[in-house]
């Protein structure tokens, strides 16, 4: 295994939102071509392709995109890992480069969801069969959703937050502050699905979906794509000074799954795999959480962001409530979190999300984030979690001058 880093030399994303006039392939091809142009490359330079997509993941999305951007016959992967799909595609390409199998890799994350409503393992709708017959691993005679708890995402992540609240006395108001921050951040991001600012009362009094997550504390479904061009260290040295100066180092690329923890079968444990991924990433990168200039983390729900402050070691152990109260994760705070607006307001087109997290961090490190730029950003972290579960953490660093 090479000890040389992989570098990002091209990055692009479409706005997230509702793209009525662009299909899945338009979105993916658009981001791909923009990222290649950003790297001053063409599809002929690319040795390996990894495409993350969730809802058409049995539909050869990568090859369909190739037919619009160049069918060069290269090794190509269609990647799915729930909401960690995009980060898994990045890591797939990174592994190919680290293995010496390719010098240049193209990564695309793309999704077209429209208005899908609530996601999750609700199982069959609650309807009685004619004659009860036990089926499945639990021997259930009827659908269990709503009778034996909930498996829908707003509730599952609410329960993750309330578990933390029980241990550390976090309040509904503190959870709501996460959403207030991210909506505010999105107002500065032209790529965000929503750019509306809401005060805390509006968020707390909005329609309740699964307490403590009101509708303004839940991410929307939507459409969008992001793409990155990755190169080996050796390849980077052959590129122009203009490209090298804007390149971003992948200092750590980590993917974990949920290890056994008691109770993980009843309530998915989103903490342990995130803590393991973060700790390994900090070790690989040789940087600690206090050295981060910005973090993009997986705020699918406000409750999730709050517990990940602790999981990613951004706050004192047990201190996530104090962390949000202190203003630390605001864009003018000590450690800005989700300056893009996060999943809550930038949007969460599932396959695109993980790639877009790296796009956001890389754009700040390049000093090209416009109105939302975190000045002087040199190191950033991008985190996603896919329930089931998979967790991706990447640490990126600005190229040395």
């Amino acid at each position: 295994m090479s000890s040389q880093p992989t570098w990002i030399v091209g990055a692009a994303m479409t706005p997230f939102g509702r793209h009525k006039d662009r299909d899945l392939i338009d979105l993916g091809a658009g981001a791909a071509l923009d990222s290649l142009a950003d790297a001053d490359m063409t599809i002929d330079d690319v040795g390996v392709l990894a495409v993350g997509n969730a809802y058409e993941s049995n539909g050869m999305v990568a090859q369909r995109i190739q037919k619009q951007i160049g069918q060069t016959g290269i090794e190509t992967y269609n990647v799915f890992n729930a909401c960690a799909t995009g980060a898994t595609a990045v890591r797939t390409a990174h592994l190919a480069i680290q293995a010496g199998e390719a010098d240049v890799a193209l990564v695309i994350g793309v999704e077209k969801m429209g208005k899908m409503g609530m996601l999750g393992a609700a199982g069959k709708a609650r309807s009685d069969r004619k004659v009860f017959t036990a089926s499945g691993r639990f021997g259930a005679v009827m659908g269990t959703e709503g009778i034996l708890g909930t498996g829908l995402m707003p509730g599952v992540f609410a329960q993750a937050g309330m578990d933390y609240a029980r241990e550390h006395d976090v309040t509904f108001r503190q959870f709501a502050k996460v959403a207030e921050k991210n909506h505010f951040h999105s107002s500065l991001n032209p790529l965000a699905q929503y750019r509306n600012v809401y005060d805390l009362d509006a968020i707390m009094n909005a329609e309740m979906i699964a307490y403590p997550n009101s509708v303004l504390m839940c991410c929307p479904t939507g459409d969008g794509a992001a793409a990155l061009v990755l190169v080996s260290d050796e390849k980077r040295r052959s590129l122009s000074a203009a490209i090298r100066d804007r390149s971003v180092k992948i200092s750590a690329s980590v993917l974990t799954t949920d290890p056994y923890t008691p109770g993980g079968h009843a309530q998915p444990d989103i903490n342990t795999l995130t803590r393991r991924a973060a700790d390994k990433a900090y070790e690989l990168a040789g940087v600690g959480p206090t050295e981060l200039d910005l973090v993009e983390l997986h705020d699918c729900f406000a409750t999730a962001e709050l517990v990940h402050y602790d999981n990613l070691r951004l706050c004192e152990p047990g201190g996530a409530g104090d962390f949000i109260d202190s203003g630390a994760p605001r864009r003018d705070g000590r450690l800005p979190v989700n300056v893009s607006g996060g999943l809550i307001s930038k949007g969460h087109p599932i396959g695109a999300t993980g790639v877009a997290g790296l796009y956001e961090v890389a754009t700040h490190l390049r000093g090209e984030a416009g109105d939302r730029q975190i000045d002087g950003a040199r190191v950033g972290l991008a985190h996603v979690i896919g329930l089931g579960s998979a967790c991706g953490v990447h640490i990126l660093e600005k190229a040395a001058a």
Binding site: A125, D128, R137, G139, V141, L148, M208
Partner: protein, 141 residues
């Protein structure tokens, strides 16, 4: 006169008949003691393949909850989904029943106990009995 309706458990890990009150049974790993409620091929904790079916306790602690307002189709809302840590081992997801769907009425971290209710009836009149957890009196607010 009508016969009382036949009742069956809604899930196979709920035991309604036999000695004592209704209770849950778990698959407990004979090697490491990890406790599961569904059919298992091998232990998620240690990989060993021997399990014993054991009763678990009907009492526990309310580890987490959510009040679901926007529910899946055909599910009445609001209702309270709960995660319960059982005394003696095992963690289970179920509804918290007999409580107002209001955070002020719910004692997070408080004591709960198992209860059963009829969840549905099929075309032959057989009733499916489900389980939930109720807050202990002294702990309810």
């Amino acid at each position: 006169m009508t016969n009382p309706a036949a009742q069956i458990p809604m899930v196979s890990y709920l035991v309604l008949s036999g000695d004592g009150p209704p209770h849950l049974v778990a698959q407990r790993c004979s090697s490491c003691g990890a406790t599961f409620f569904d059919r298992r091929n091998a232990c998620a904790s240690c990989g060993m393949r021997q399990f014993a079916t054991v009763p678990v306790q009907n009492t526990g602690m309310l580890r987490s909850y959510t009040i679901v307002h926007r529910a899946a189709p055909n599910v009445p809302a609001p209702y309270v989904s709960a995660v319960v840590e059982l005394d003696g081992g095992g963690v289970i997801k179920a509804n918290l029943v007999g409580v107002e769907p209001d955070p002020k009425a719910i004692n997070l971290g408080g004591r709960v106990h198992l209860t059963t209710f009829v969840a549905g009836t099929d075309d032959e009149g057989t009733e499916a009995v489900a389980f939930g957890y109720a807050q202990d009196e002294r702990d309810s607010r």
